[in-house]
């Protein structure tokens, strides 16, 4: 299909029709159908990359304005093209640090509940492995949250964002970490915990 009306028509296939406010949005149910059409695994990274590309503000909710500008930016007109675009975006994450950073930061907003400023630790534990693949720092961090779940209930935006930086710089032997540096206090705890023999 072509542009303009076609994007509208495409959108309408998944749009939520039970709204009382007349807003043009795709809700989680429609979004899931879209992912189905794209053959995306709902537990994988693709749906989230898709949301991000479609400028969604919340998890599973796509507004038409975002849909339209997103599709145009990707220069995509149909399901096949969309699938390809999202796949290549995900490939690009590995090569383009700035791209991934932007996506990663947005993930925080997707994870947090509406009124909250922070993300629940258990949500972070569930989603980080999907989003960050096999980065070792993220893996350790997830284990750390799991081990300290009784004390640590949330992850703040600063901690989330700093985690990405940490993953880029921290050495496996932890030798270049200093608590005098500007890392969030939680990371001091993380490193201490990692240094414990029983943790290794």
């Amino acid at each position: 299909m072509a542009k303009g009306n076609d994007l509208q028509a495409w959108f309408i296939e998944y749009q939520d029709l039970d709204r009382s406010d007349g807003q043009a949005v795709i809700m989680p149910e429609g979004f899931e159908r879209l992912c189905g059409a794209l053959e995306f695994d709902m537990d994988g990274i693709e749906p989230m990359a898709l949301l991000w590309r479609l400028n969604a503000a919340e998890l599973g909710k796509v507004e038409f304005a975002g849909w339209e500008s997103g599709m145009r930016a990707m220069n995509v007109h149909d399901t096949a093209e969309l699938k390809q675009a999202i796949r290549s975006t995900i490939d690009d994450f590995g090569r383009n640090a700035a791209l991934f950073k932007s996506f990663y930061r947005k993930m925080f907003d997707y994870l947090r509940a509406d009124k909250q400023k922070s993300v629940a630790a258990e949500d972070a534990v569930a989603v980080l492995p999907i989003v960050t693949g096999n980065g070792w720092v993220f893996e350790k961090f997830v284990k750390f949250l799991e081990a300290n779940g009784d004390r640590i209930k949330t992850v703040s935006r600063d901690q989330w964002q700093s985690l990405l930086e940490l993953s880029k710089t921290l050495k496996p032997d932890l030798s270049n970490y200093s608590s005098d540096d500007a890392w969030p206090a939680m990371f001091d705890e993380l490193v201490e915990w990692l240094k414990k023999p029983e943790t290794a």
Binding site: D158, D180, P184, A185, M186
Partner: protein, 754 residues
């Protein structure tokens, strides 16, 4: 006589001139003539005086010792006058021929200078060694304790000094004669003398003896030196003496310091201090500082250790804190007095004392664990001083002094310890709680005492802390006034036959929490409260009240139905808590709910009924009933124990020797819980202080590197020492709340978000 000498001198001079003519001003017109005469006159004078001096030198050889000094002195004085006169007589020569010669750069000096030169070259150089010998011998005699005329030395010194100031060359050589021909040998001679003396004294006695001897000798020498030495040499002379008398024995002297401290020998310490001070800050006093510091520190730690071991300390907080603080004070006082009396409040040693106190007051055996804390113990101690019913603490003051004076002294001492506390904010929170409790329970021993403490604290910590205390204080005063006015207003109107007082407190200023249980007031009390509120709202409208029944008390008269003896008529006087009151009122024959189990002892109530009627929660009710049952006010169906299944009846046959009983005060505050609450409050305050400090710094600097921000935060907070992890937490909070942001390009940098 001297005049005649001069006259003779001059006339003899005259006679040696060619033709016996005078040289007159008239001849000045002829320059050649004048010049010839000028030179002739000059030369003749020179020769004549030289001759004279040589004769004097010869004569001097007949003398030695003091006689030589006298002779020299006499001649010197005579000569001095003569020189002056001659200089005056030959004034014309000075101003004309001599001046001309000097202008032409010829080696000719004015008459006065010439005279001194002649003395020096023809007599002095000859006799100076003998002079010096005589001076030494005289000095030795004086030093050995004999009597001798010091003035002889003085005049010799003066002459040496004068002889050095005739040089036409630069002024700096003025003292040359004195320095090289007198001072140096004199100092060397003194040094040798004392070297020998030191050995002798050290051999004969202890180092302490030596010190006393040195101290006295130095004083003698100091006093004496002013009488004969030139003032410019006093320093050099003093240094030389210090070196030989003190410097050589420095190590042994310093090693005496510790034993002296141990034996508290103030006089010896004072002497040692004075002596070592003469060696200067670095060589003399610095070695003492570290010894002093560690000594006082050990003494303090030892004193606290002893307290920990004492049985009394284990028995309750009041005793523990009292013994602890008294131990601290005794050590501090002891070494402060040594610092003052023996070391004259020397700044270096004063600092050493402060460091030591800071250490042993905060980090000692008593405060090692989490249970005890110097700040809390001190607050507890202050509470025992200011709370009624604590005679022990106050009795520790001086006998004979008034109790007010004693209290002032003890509070001032407490403040002294406060200054050294590392965690003053913990003290402030703890003190605030104790203070509030005293006020609310009307337990202050003296309101003047409370005010005194507040102003002492203000001096050290400023208004921030004490203004809250002052507000609490004024709340009480205002409430009193209100109560008085209320009583006046209601005097005839109330109808109830009991008195009551209300305290209205500003929520923000008091560290008091809402009660843990509800309460349904007895009807009479309810009425009274309503009346008061009506009265109160006339002057202050729109205020919301939280009732703190847990702090209220009542005094009641109990008439037990079967009481006999004096108590039957007068009743027993009980002090009860409001909760207890509510429970007990249920058993008033006229107002109890009645269950059908009633007997001549009055109503019998189940636990459940009590709960319903009073709306108290289970734990509170049970606790109060336990107290009442233990006091035998109630009998229960459960072996007279208070349980939640028992039935309660008044003990109508109650009998006690004591007419008054306090049942309210028996539920004492839990010390462990107190400590926990205090720490929680402190932690909260600190977190906020750190955040506030960071915001202030960032507002001013706009952008700052992490390390600098941490440093600035530590510096700006004076009340406690913030931990780096706490600062990081605060930064995290501020980032989350949008006050700060990490810089995008450099994550070590923070930006202030306006």
């Amino acid at each position: 006589m001297q005049r005649s000498g001069v006259y003779n001198f001059c006339t003899s001079l005259k006679s040696s001139l060619p033709g016996g003519t005078y040289y007159t001003p008239a001849d000045a017109s002829s320059t050649v003539h004048g010049s010839m005469y000028g030179r002739q006159l000059y030369t003749r004078l020179n020769d004549h005086v030289s001759q004279y001096m040589i004769q004097v030198a010869e004569k001097s050889r007949e003398f030695s010792g003091d006689d030589l000094l006298s002779f020299y002195n006499r001649e010197w004085i005579k000569y001095g006058d003569a020189a002056k006169t001659i200089h005056h007589i030959f004034d014309y020569l000075n101003r004309h021929w001599i001046q001309r010669e000097q202008d032409e750069g010829n080696n000719v000096c004015d008459i006065n200078t010439l005279m001194f030169r002649l003395w020096r070259n023809n007599f002095f150089m000859d006799v100076r060694n003998s002079l010096l010998e005589s001076v030494f011998s005289l000095m030795k005699r004086i030093r050995d304790g004999q009597v001798a005329d010091l003035n002889l030395v003085k005049s010799v010194v003066d002459s040496f000094v004068s002889l050095g100031s005739d040089d036409m060359a630069s002024g700096s050589k003025k003292m040359e004669v004195y320095d090289s021909y007198f001072l140096k040998p004199f100092i060397e001679g003194s040094r040798q003398y004392y070297e020998a003396e030191c050995e002798r004294v050290l051999k004969e006695g202890s180092i302490r003896n030596y010190m006393i001897w040195v101290f006295d000798r130095l004083k003698e020498e100091d006093d004496r030196a002013e009488m004969y030495l030139h003032e410019s040499s006093l320093r050099e002379f003093g240094d030389a003496l210090n070196k030989v008398l003190i410097g050589k024995q420095r190590a042994s002297l310093i090693s005496e310091f510790k034993p002296m401290l141990q034996a508290r020998e103030k006089d010896d310490l004072a002497r040692l201090y004075e002596l070592l001070k003469r060696l200067g800050e670095t060589a003399g006093l610095e070695p003492l500082r570290d010894t002093f510091r560690s000594f006082v520190e050990d003494a303090g730690l030892e004193a606290v250790k002893k307290v920990c071991g004492e049985q009394e300390a284990a028995e309750g907080n009041a005793n523990k804190s009292r013994l602890f603080v008294q131990a601290l004070l005794s050590v501090h006082e002891l070494y402060s007095s040594i610092l003052h009396d023996s070391f004259k409040d020397d700044p270096g040693l004063s600092k050493a004392l402060d460091h030591a106190c800071q250490k042993f007051i905060n980090e000692n055996e008593m405060c090692a664990g989490k249970d005890n804390n110097a700040a809390r113990l001190l607050a507890n101690y202050c509470d025992t001083l200011l709370r009624k019913g604590n005679a022990t603490a106050r009795a520790a003051g001086e006998a004979g002094a008034s109790s007010e004076d004693n209290l002032e002294k003890q509070l001032t001492q407490a403040i002294c310890v406060y200054r050294y506390l590392k965690e003053q904010d913990v003290f402030q929170v703890a003190y605030g709680r104790f203070f509030a409790r005293r006020l609310v329970n009307e337990q202050s021993v003296s309101s003047h005492g409370e005010e005194m403490m507040i102003s002492l604290l203000k001096e050290v910590s400023g208004m921030d802390f004490t203004s809250r205390l002052s507000r609490m204080f004024s709340d009480i005063t205002v409430s009193k006034e209100m109560s008085e006015r209320f009583k006046e207003t209601m005097r005839d109107k109330r109808g109830d036959d009991f008195e009551f007082d209300m305290k209205v407190l500003n929520t923000g200023s008091w560290p008091l929490k809402a009660p843990e249980t509800k309460l349904k007031l007895p009807a009479e009390l309810d009425r009274a409260v309503d009346q008061y509120l009506e009265f109160y709202s006339k002057s202050h409208s729109g205020r919301r009240f939280n009732w703190l029944w847990q702090y209220s008390k009542a005094e009641i008269k109990m008439f037990f139905p079967k009481a006999t003896g004096p108590a039957a008529k007068t009743g027993y006087l009980f002090q009860v808590s409001t909760y207890q009151l509510a429970i007990m009122m249920l058993f008033n024959a006229e107002s109890g709910p009645g269950t059908g189990y009633d007997s001549e002892d009055g109503p019998t109530l189940t636990f459940g009924q009590i709960l319903t009627a009073t709306e108290l929660d289970k734990d509170t009710a049970l606790g109060e009933l336990e107290v009442l049952c233990k006091a035998r006010v109630f009998n229960t169906s459960d072996g007279n124990k208070a349980t939640d299944t028992a039935q309660y009846t008044l003990n109508s046959g109650y009998k006690s020797k004591r007419m008054r009983m306090n049942l309210a005060g028996l539920r004492k505050p839990d010390a462990k819980k107190d400590a926990k609450d205090i720490q929680k409050s402190v932690d909260q305050d600190r977190s906020m202080s750190i955040q506030a400090a960071i915001v202030r710094i960032m507002k001013a600097r706009k952008q700052l590197v992490h390390r600098e921000l941490v440093q600035a935060t530590i510096e700006i907070i004076k009340l406690f020492h913030p931990q780096i992890s706490d600062i990081k937490q605060a930064i995290s909070k501020l980032i989350d709340n949008g006050f700060l942001a990490r810089d995008e390009d450099n994550r070590d940098v923070y930006n202030y978000l306006a």
